[in-house]
Symmetry: C2
Subunit: 353 residues, 2 copies
């Protein structure tokens, strides 16, 4: 088994993590390596739940910071083992998110006298359906482990603090009609034609830009699926348009739904999937300290991440990790070693005394 040295350069830790394959559902080996390494640190209380590894300090500090990173990756796509070229690490998981995991493991090993108490959560199954998510399991089974005053999720953010996150909602717009032979079309009602109007409204929709805590969130309303049709000579009696709404965290899911019902007034709309956003919460003291350590800069998080789970628990939560998120899930995933060290340095400054 790979032995991880938490006192090494976080870039070397990242390389070691990348070379332990850990596609979702297959995280036993990497979780074992992480558990062993953390277990060697006397200042940490360590526990394992399935393939999630938990560690914390208990120093009686007034505030607690939770650092969370998932250990799994999407499937291998001709991008293992790791390839190191100068400053750049190429390979599956370099961006999403073993670079961030490496920084957190390095902090767990080296920040033995932190300014705030620390909790580390290295979890499994983030890249698959939400029901299997390891962080969700801890939330249900061991909620005490997630309590704190600030959460930092190490997802790639170009080494910029991304605060809050947008919500996401998927709706289906369903048109019904009446089947008929296309040679006698006037005997039927074409359900696909019925989608013309909702599709027009969608194409003409102008999404909001919303400023919150000095950050600008950009909403979006996008068709993600359309389907309908019975046979090449039949007027179809059903057609469905699926739309994904990414909404700024000033809207609750209820308000987001109400807005969509206004936009698509007159049509049969059902919500099939929803996750609330998270307000940035940058005015909370611990969050303000982190922003300061990072040079005062923060950006809005546009995608939905596990940050929202912490926000739902009432904690300010941010994304902060090395790597360009647009490279995540691509075969060409790669991260700069400089960026990994930069994130480690900011967090050392913030968490150390």
């Amino acid at each position: 088994m790979t032995r991880l040295d938490l006192h090494a350069d976080p870039v070397d830790i990242a390389c070691a993590l990348v070379d332990i394959p850990s596609v979702s559902g297959d995280e036993a080996v990497i979780a074992g390596a992480v558990e062993s390494a953390l277990g060697r640190e006397a200042h940490l209380e360590v526990e394992r739940v399935g393939n999630t590894v938990l560690a914390m300090t208990n120093l009686g500090r007034p505030e607690r910071v939770v650092l969370a990173g998932h250990l799994d990756t999407v499937p291998v796509n001709e991008n293992l083992p790791l390839r190191r070229e100068g400053d750049v690490l190429h390979g599956l998981g370099t961006v999403d998110m073993k670079g961030g995991d490496a920084v957190f493991l390095h902090l767990a090993g080296t920040v033995t006298e932190p300014a705030h108490d620390l909790t580390f959560v290295f979890y499994d199954c983030e890249e698959v359906e939400a029901a299997r998510n390891g962080l969700g399991r801890i939330e249900r089974e061991r909620p005490d482990w997630l309590r704190g005053d600030l959460a930092i999720v190490g997802e790639p953010s170009n080494a910029v603090i991304e605060a809050g996150c947008q919500g996401t909602m998927r709706i289906e717009l369903r048109c019904t009609g009446k089947r008929a032979h296309t040679a006698r079309a006037w005997m039927g009602v074409n359900a696909i034609h019925g989608l013309a109007e909702p599709l027009r409204r969608l194409a003409e929709y102008r999404a909001r830009d919303v400023e919150i805590d000095g950050l600008t969130y950009r909403e979006g309303l996008q068709a993600v699926r359309i389907g309908g049709g019975v046979a090449g000579n039949v007027v179809p009696d059903e057609a469905v348009l699926t739309v994904n709404f990414r909404f700024a965290p000033d809207r609750t899911p209820e308000r987001a739904e109400r807005h969509l019902r206004e936009v698509f007034d007159g049509f049969d709309l059902s919500v099939v999937d929803c996750a609330a956003g998270a307000l940035p919460g940058l005015s909370a003291p611990a969050a303000a300290g982190l922003i300061e350590a990072a040079g005062g800069k923060a950006a809005p998080k546009l995608g939905w991440t596990d940050v929202a789970r912490f926000a739902a628990l009432g904690m300010p939560a941010v994304n902060f990790g090395p790597g360009d998120p647009t490279l995540a899930h691509t075969r060409e995933e790669h991260v700069s070693a400089t960026e990994i060290r930069q994130v480690a340095q900011v967090l050392h400054h913030f968490l150390g005394k």
Copy 2:
């Protein structure tokens, strides 16, 4: 093997035919019964090609009438064996088109001294893909058998002569875009949104009614399929709308395509499937004689049928058969015995001396 008596009431022949199952591809038994029955008639020359049975008179008449009917049915749907209730025959194939086959078989047996020479074509595989169609096979392999001055196809037409037929064309309208994560939708181009405009034109399209030879054809332009989408969080880069155009026989396929390219000007259009229509041709002498025998009435044929194959050979061609075509392919298929006898009577009057 069922022995068919061509001199019996055509209603009894229809009952016997319905009770010989003959789903497309499985017509050997029914073709055998038809071949035997026709072979017993001294005035006919009979030939079998696969499961298609051909018969003709050679009396040196100045004109020849071709009568064609398919022997196959769509799959059984809890509608066999035949159920006879008073005047009505219930069961698979009663409408499509063993009622018409029975009339033609009855004529083949009883009109021994016809006014015009007669050719009968009882063919297989009409209900499946065009490449397997028995009539198409005869057209390719034994085209002499289809020559004549008028063709009568016995498809159900409510015992009304339906003349000509509309053409049919299927096109695909393809929109392309650029993939992106829906959380950063402005980095992509949504292909489904691109369908809003062609779908609007389609929904607002007003189809023509066209009068030809006193018959009114009703065109139609209908979406028959729509599809697009990559994943619930991805701006899709391709979407396709499939449209079926039913066009009056005054348009050739070339003109129909040109019209659609005008309607959908600016969009990527490709023709995926096309069959020409057939002009009614009611002014030809043999056709005029038939209309007169039927009491002077004719209606336009709106669906595409094998009539168009004869029209393509330069022959006037009509549909004329018992039964309501809207019942075809339904489990509730049924036909009136009176209508079967009525069609037989009109054709006797027209073909006899």
